[in-house]
Symmetry: C2
């Protein structure tokens, strides 16, 4: 079934059929009617490739995220997809893994696909020299690129991110004001946002004339048992509170406290990040920073559409996080 068949059956030219398919106004109601009927009867679907060839777009954007199995990214992808759907766009998904080489490959594959935009979720590019970065900047020459919770300078590159610096600054300050002096900072990557979080932590301590004890900054995997075990191995280390850059690590800290018989929040306060389902699952429930994934995604898509519509949009949009207070802290 091609456009020619429909044209023949409807007794019109293929141009007219195409106009009907694309909702052009320059077709009389009568023929529009006829063509629609024939299309319905024959169950005709325009060939997407030919359409894409002619139009130069297939209304599709690419989403690259390290791992959709991660609940935070899963939520993000879900929001993105829904919002894109609302604008009539489809999304093709790549789970790139966290490795730079893998991500580079994902981007390069995606670039072959005549997409309308590229969305990178939870980007964790470490150094400016990284191959992905140069590749992304090249890519941006062709289509707009959006980083969600990441930062990259460059033409046609836009960033939408939570204000992680401020969020951690604020919660650190709250802990200090609550009398905590040895705040353990658990982080899991060298990403831009992990860096910003750590800066917030250090700045808040400095603002209160507290020294940053390097031993209190621990790198660990975002996994409950891994974090628990890591902490159990640090027996020399004393701390009265924990700020984790992911909820999984925070729950690991709770498990550690349970093993050691530490009362939470009295003897150990714990703060998580992302306000995932884990935070209301554990015991006690976790105080956690909600970095507004849903809002970030909506903002991203709205901005993208504005851009595709020819409007100018800000290069960087920063959205304030919310601290959700629960039983794992006493402020």
């Amino acid at each position: 079934m091609t456009i020619y068949d429909i044209a023949k059956l409807a007794g019109v030219s293929i141009a007219t059929v195409s106009r009907v398919v694309n909702g052009s106004p320059k077709v009389s109601e009568k023929t529009k009617e006829t063509v629609r009927r024939v299309m319905a009867e024959t169950n005709y679907t325009p060939n997407a490739f030919a359409r894409g060839l002619g139009l130069g777009t297939m209304q599709t954007v690419g989403i690259v995220c390290p791992d959709v199995a991660d609940p935070y990214m899963a939520k993000a992808v879900s929001y993105l997809e829904k919002n894109l759907q609302g604008y009539g766009y489809d999304c093709i998904l790549y789970c790139s893994g966290y490795d730079d080489a893998d991500r580079e490959q994902a981007v390069s594959l995606l670039l072959k696909k005549q997409l309308d935009a590229l969305l990178l979720v939870g980007s964790i590019f470490s150094d400016e020299q990284s191959a992905v970065l140069t590749q992304l900047r090249e890519a941006a020459a062709r289509i707009p690129i959006f980083l969600i919770n990441g930062v990259l300078s460059g033409d046609n590159v836009y960033c939408v991110l939570g204000d992680d610096y401020q969020a951690v600054y604020d919660v650190t300050e709250e802990l200090v004001l609550a009398g905590k002096r040895r705040i353990l900072f658990l982080t899991n990557s060298s990403s831009y946002s992990a860096g910003r979080k750590q800066q917030g932590y250090e700045a808040a301590l400095a603002a209160h004339q507290l020294d940053v004890d390097a031993r209190l900054i621990l790198h660990c995997e975002n996994s409950i048992p891994a974090t628990r075990d890591l902490l159990l191995r640090q027996r020399g280390l004393t701390f009265d509170s924990v700020i984790a850059t992911e909820d999984g690590m925070a729950v690991g800290a709770l498990k550690y406290a349970a093993v050691c018989g530490l009362r939470v929040p009295d003897e150990l306060s714990v703060v998580g990040y992302n306000n995932s389902e884990l935070s209301i699952c554990c015991e006690p429930e976790l105080t956690s920073v909600d970095n507004r994934g849903e809002l970030l995604c909506r903002t991203t898509i709205d901005s993208l559409m504005a851009l595709l519509d020819g409007q100018t949009i800000p290069k960087q949009q920063v959205i304030k996080c919310h601290l959700i207070k629960r039983a794992s802290t006493d402020f």
Copy 2:
């Protein structure tokens, strides 16, 4: 940059360039070399639409799932994507929502896209009359359809699913043998797999000459607070154990136990489903059925590839689940 430019620069015809791009063996090493060099220098990428038009495929499969934000489906999508990647296929994702009308729309949109296959995750079609079903069967005339954890008869439709019936049968039996007599069954949908789970529950009770008390079968949302509150509202109901068809509900039951001061597992045993991260997050940790999402997905993709390769594959593949025993039960 089109294939013509490359041909001109390399001093060959477009056919030769195309052959090089597609790895045809009928090109001399020398010209292959030249063309490759020119392509690299010019950073040429074949147009995916034109390619698709010519080849009739773009190596892409569609994935429909109700909600990637759900950790179980997120994991499934992640596995599917990775496995497809391994075969050089891309995936385009639709989060259809749980509503039949929405899912129908998703499928119909997807069908316009010249995909190589359609994968439905966690399908929860209720009745045989549903519009999605007829639509899917029509779709199957064009491309193969795979249901992951769902069942649908029809030509060119294949199902890969966990043996939920047996899993629930077995765990119910374990509870009975552990002396439990009033086993609450928490379920959240009228999907095929929810039905099978319930059948397993009822069959196991019957096998041990225990009556099925209809009041002990509760429908509830897969959400920790929703389940907790639901149980708190059922004060007349007595039960000594809970089997939930999702981990979220099981954790809700644990929260309920905490509120009521019931000791788990002594006074209340709780079994969850899917062995999600929640199950090692809560306190006590949750005994949960692992329905082998990873294996299901790998099986699905391997089968799909075998099918595309012209081989015959089974219409239905059932994979045994694993019970992961933790502290919320005492068997």
